[in-house]
Symmetry: C2
Subunit: 228 residues, 2 copies
């Protein structure tokens, strides 16, 4: 068995699997490995998606282009990462993004839809992991979409901080890096930093690295209600 | 067996099931029914989500509130509709919306997570239907999100029309009503109608009801490239 398989124990789909269990599973199913050099297009957007991809080693980026050719980076993936688990069984089965290798040699494990279905039926742990993985993705998308329906960046950040405040109390650590957060809000990082500073300046919050203290809930709610 | 169960044959989860098969499945699993009067809150956003809901009869609306209390209608559902299939297995398992009955008596069928898992393992058709249902939802969300990253309504509409043009040729019917389309773009219907008229006025498209003819691809691409 390829030793990279053992990395799967860290992936969302094989969470909770011991080395022995991974060996048992992967000695009984069909799969293959593909290795891509830096900058190589692994899958193109719109291509037929009939295999599950798991990034086992290296990194990759997911990109999208609008009709005018503008490239938007959707996500950067580090091994181990599962790709397109949700799209594999959708009606049109089109690969949703351009996937580009972003390391000297990014290695993917590929499994057919049939193999994934067989695992679902025979391995309850795998089935639960797959459904959790897809559910978490849809959660993230739905949150992001809801965020974008809010008006300004300042309102998005206020809404987000109030949500963390509600579940964690007055002091908490951000659950994402500033970079991931900027991406989540659909804005550039400097714009987000500026808004953080504004919130500090008006006395709504205090920050130290990832740590945030909510100083005035009222000021944050006012931003949501009245600023346009 | 409750005769409403037979409506399930029309739902995404039991697509392809004959009446006989539905009788077989529902005589061997646990489920219950709940009936709600008009305007009644069926599930609140953030409540623990541990049962699959299927709207069997009537209609319902899914709503969200931002922190300031502004209500946003996410979706209107007509029976038969499956609700929250993707969230049922996600890590936090919070119900993502406020769900409100929107008919004289909306009837829901409820199934525990355990029952859903058992069906997945014993019924390959159900498993495929569930994964397809979730995959299609995530597709729709991803499309909508991508759309919102585009600048103006005019650019969103141009991008959308170019996509339909690519897959259907010069003449096609819109795959959604104007109302659903406005919702998809995150704008009010009159704003969308205004933009449709603009595109007709500049000679980019011609319309008749849902039918659209692309007159000038170049003009649509220019909108994407240069208008801000």
């Amino acid at each position: 068995m390829n030793p990279l398989i053992l990395n799967l124990g860290e992936s969302s789909l094989f969470k909770g699997y011991t080395i022995g269990e991974l060996e048992r599973v992967f000695s009984s199913i069909h799969y293959r490995m593909e290795k891509y050099p830096l900058g190589c297009l692994v899958r193109s957007r719109g291509s037929v998606h009939d295999e599950l991809l798991i990034l086992l080693d290296g990194s990759a980026v997911a990109e999208m282009q609008d009709q005018s050719g503008k490239v938007i980076r959707v996500e950067r993936l580090e091994a181990p990462s599962v790709l397109g688990s949700a799209f594999l069984f959708s009606s049109d089965r089109e690969f949703p993004v351009d996937l580009v290798a972003d390391d000297r040699g990014s290695t993917f494990l590929l499994m057919s839809r049939e193999t994934v279905l067989r695992l679902c039926r025979n391995e309850e742990k795998f089935l639960l992991n797959l459904l959790r993985d897809i559910g978490d993705r849809i959660n993230l998308l739905a949150d992001k979409l809801f965020m974008l329906t809010l008006g300004t960046i300042k309102q998005r950040l206020a809404n987000y901080l109030l949500k963390l405040h509600r579940s964690n109390g007055r002091c908490f650590e951000l659950d994402m890096s500033r970079e991931a957060l900027a991406d989540f809000f659909g804005v550039a990082r400097p714009s987000l930093s500026r808004v953080f500073s504004e919130l500090v300046d008006i006395g709504a919050i205090a920050t130290r690295g990832r740590k945030v203290e909510i100083i005035s809930v009222e000021k944050l709610v006012n931003i949501l209600n009245f600023e346009r």
